[in-house]
Each structure stands twice: as C-alpha cells, then as structure tokens.
Amino acid sequence: MSYPETYKYAKSHEWLLLEGDAATVGITDYAQESLGDIVFVELPKVGQEIAAGATFGSVESVKAVSDLYSPVGGTVTAVNSALNDAPETINTAANATWIIKLKVADAAGADSLLDAAAYEKFVAEETGH
C-alpha cells in the first residue's frame, strides 16, 4: 500500500490534497483494501456546503458500508461522477481516484491531519501489525 507524501490523511481514512483554497478528497489505499470490492459510491451535489468533519457521502463494498468525512469545510465544486458507473476504480487506484473537490472555507481541520508517515504508523497500530 502506498501513501503519497503530497497528501494529508484523516484518521477516518480519507486523503486530502490542499492547493490554495482548492481541496481534493479521496479515500486511502488502506480504506479500499479494508472495504474490499467497492460497488457503490454515494456522492454529494455540486454547490453543497460541508462542514469540517461532516459526512458528505458513503462508499459501499459487497460486505460493508462506510461514511465519508470531509477533512475540511467548504463548498463542493465537483464530484467524480465517473464513480457512479465504475466505483471499482477506487480499488484499483485509490490515490489517483478523487471523490470530491471543494472550495475551502474552513481549513482549520487540515492542521490536525496526518502526514504520510504518521498515517502509515496510525494504520499499523490500528490493525495491530
């Protein structure tokens, strides 16, 4: 599993790429691996406002469903609607597959996110190996 250095990571297993006030959010390689075959991604609507730490959708695999949490607050500027037809893209390329893009209004939460090394350590502790 790989965790790009350019991303920040939430303990709820989303990755965040912050470029100025533009944020891109996906789920981590660990998250897709834990979920298994992803069959459904529930996306928000463009223009929807999301508070930092709030759920903005869900991702479902054959065996489980998991909420998606936005690491930062803001307005949804784009959703990856290709995931409606090909949700399994997340399994094959979690790091390269974004779910939503936001115009950030509240980046305060970003400070508490983990860098790649810290996230990898967090995952190792969570899984116990």
Binding site: G36, D37, V39, F40, S58, E60, S61, V62, K63, V65
Partner: protein
C-alpha cells in the same frame, strides 16, 4: 482475518467478487474445517436421530445425506444440520461452528439418556474442504480414483483422495452450485498438503481459494439459511419457510413437533422469510428495517448484500404473511432513507440442472 465461532478465518483471499464468480463459473475452494461433526452410533441411533431432528431419517439410505434441523421444544432452532447415514446405526451430523458447544450439549441432553447409543464429537478429527463450482468434479476427479460422476447430489462415498484412504467424499455444499465436500485427517501437514493439491488440480479451471465473504454471498444468492440470521432460537420452522424439511407425519414425536403442530392449528405463522430485491438504488443490509409503502415498520432484513452474480441488491427478510406474495412492494430504510424493494421468489440464483433438456420446474433444496 476475523474471528468466526472461535476460528481465525479469512473474509477474502483475492477479492470477494472474484472468488464468488470463480465458484459460479469455474471452481472455488473453501476451508470449512470450522464446521462441527457429531457421530451417533449404536442400535438406537436411528431412534435418537428421529427424536433429535425434524427431517425423516428413516428415508435415508447408506451413503445419502439430507438437510435437517435440531429444534427446541417451542419449534425454534438449536441449529440447522446436514445428516449423513454412514451405515446401519451410524450417523454423522454436520453442525455449525458458532453453535458447536451448544449443539453437543443439546444432543447429550436430549438423547444422551437413551440406551444403545454412542455420541461422539468428532469435529476435531476432520479438516473439511469444500470444492464448489461447475468445474468441481473435474478438479476433484484428478485427485481420486473414485468415479465421481455417479455420486448424486446429497449423496456421498468413501475413497482415496490425494493418496489418503477412506476419505469421505460428499456431493454437498453451501453455495447453490454443484460441488463436493471432502473430510480429511485434521493434522496440519495433511490438511495443508491436500489444500495445495486441490488448488493445483483446479488451476487449469481457474480455481482460487475462497473466504467467508464469498461463502456468504454465494449462499445468499441461493437463499440458504445462516444460523443467527434466517434461523435462530426465536424463529420457528414455519416462519423460516423450511417446512419441506420438517416431517410432521414421520411417526416420531421429535423435539419441537408439538409446538409446531399448535402453530399450524392456530392458522400458521404471523410472519415469514421472503426474498427482497432492491428496486431503487441502495443496498439493504443485515438488520435494516423493512416498511410498508404506507410507512409502517413491518419487519427486518436478516441478510442483505449485493449479489455479485445476479447483479442485483438482494436480501432475505421477515415480513408479515400479508406481505409475502412475490411482487409486493415494500421499502427498506437504508441509512435514514426509504428505498423501494419488491418481494421476489427465492432462490435468487438457481444453477442450470446438469444434462437438463427441458425447462422443467426444479424443486429447490437450500443446501444443494
């Protein structure tokens, strides 16, 4: 790995959908050693089995097995089982892992006082490997001189497998697909060798190891009951729709019979297990509530998931008998939203009969 009835077991090896599809289209191999086995022997063993289990064991021939269940006096389930007639006065009951201790205690309590009966928990003697799929026979045939072709569904024999003598070879399974379950000595070296040889033999047919995740979605597509979900100590035989395996007139007052007769006399069960297919987008999962279209809560899903082969979101649920007709529309509360679903006939998946020439209706067996 997850804890399953005290066993460390993989939910998946390569991916649930890939494993599921391997079983439907080629062959998949499951380590099902967690299943328990109780052997009943002695001159009173048939009488004991008839008292203990709801199906009619007097109909079994040597080498034949059938689906059955152990009931509490109130007609609910201790466990569902597969009964094998090994010989005259010699029976093997295959039970679930999570209920093993309870089952063994129940067997001893219920029939242990009968004379002429020897009860043995032989669960730890066997590693049970399930080879399932349209290529199961071709796979196993490479490892045994026994001609597998004549073994009918729910029959078994003994023979050499992977050089081991007297291996029990049963044409049984829990996937809705053709397949075999073999019972080999439980020591680790033997188990590992057989596991490896089965996978190697199946390689040309695309054999892969399959975990608990695929086992669950396969049995759900085939609408087979899982203890703790569709059957439990609060659900009775009529509610669970398993009446065809319950022989009220077999001439033995089996445990649970009297209560079940009373339910029949009072007009039958108030609720029943049905199949649901999600109509709108959303997946109904275990424990989700079922509502009438008028918004009244009427029941609950016991197992629900995407069906990887049928490519529909399917579920088994208990609903009032006024809602059991196929075509009845209901709603499932999926994470706070009402999602439409429809009652459908089960199983969701039925394999094509081998050598079938006409599209004659097939009587479905839940463990076939």
């Amino acid at each position: 790995m997850v804890d399953f009835g005290g066993w460390d077991m993989p939910v998946q090896y390569r991916g649930l959908i890939e494993e599921h599809m391997a079983v439907r289209t080629g062959v998949g191999v499951f380590d099902v050693s967690h299943m328990g086995d109780i052997q009943l022997r002695g001159p009173n063993s048939l009488a004991a089995v008839q008292k203990l289990l709801m199906n009619d064991a007097s109909k079994l021939q040597i080498g034949q097995a059938h689906y059955s269940a152990m009931l509490y006096p109130n007609g609910t389930f201790v466990d569902d089982v597969v009964l094998h007639k090994l010989g005259e006065n010699d029976y093997l009951i295959v039970i679930n892992a999570g209920t093993r201790e309870k089952d063994v205690q129940w067997v001893r309590k219920t029939i242990g006082g009968m004379g002429g009966l020897h009860i043995t928990d032989v669960s730890d003697y066997y590693t049970q490997i399930a080879i399932q799929g349209p290529k199961a026979q071709a796979t196993l045939q490479k490892l045994t001189p026994v001609d597998l072709g004549p073994i009918k569904n729910y029959w078994f024999t003994w023979g050499q497998v992977c050089g081991l003598h007297n291996v029990l070879i049963a044409r049984t399974g829990y996937t809705g697909e053709d397949g075999f379950e073999i019972y080999v000595p439980a020591d680790e070296a033997t188990s590992a060798r057989v596991w490896g040889e089965v996978l190697a033999a199946g390689e040309e047919f695309g054999a892969i190891p399959c975990g608990l995740g695929a086992r669950n979605t396969l049995r759900l597509e085939a609408a087979m009951a899982l203890y703790g979900h569709e059957i439990s100590d609060t659900l009775n035989v009529w509610e669970a729709n398993l009446g065809r395996y319950c022989k009220m007139e077999k001439g033995v007052d089996f445990v649970g019979r009297e209560a079940l007769a009373k339910v029949q006399e009072s007009g039958g069960p108030a609720k029943r297990l049905v199949g649901l297919e999600m109509v709108e987008r959303g997946i109904g999962r275990d424990g989700y509530a079922v509502f009438s279209l008028e918004g009244e809560r009427i029941g609950e899903i016991t197992s629900g998931s995407p069906g990887p082969f049928v490519k529909k979101n399917i579920a088994l649920a208990y609903v009032p008998v006024s809602f059991v007709e196929p075509g009845t529309e209901v709603a499932v509360e999926v994470r706070g939203q009402m999602v439409k679903a429809v009652v459908v006939a089960t199983p969701f998946y039925k394999r094509a009969k081998l050598g079938a020439v006409a599209a004659a209706p097939v009587v479905t067996a839940p463990l076939s």
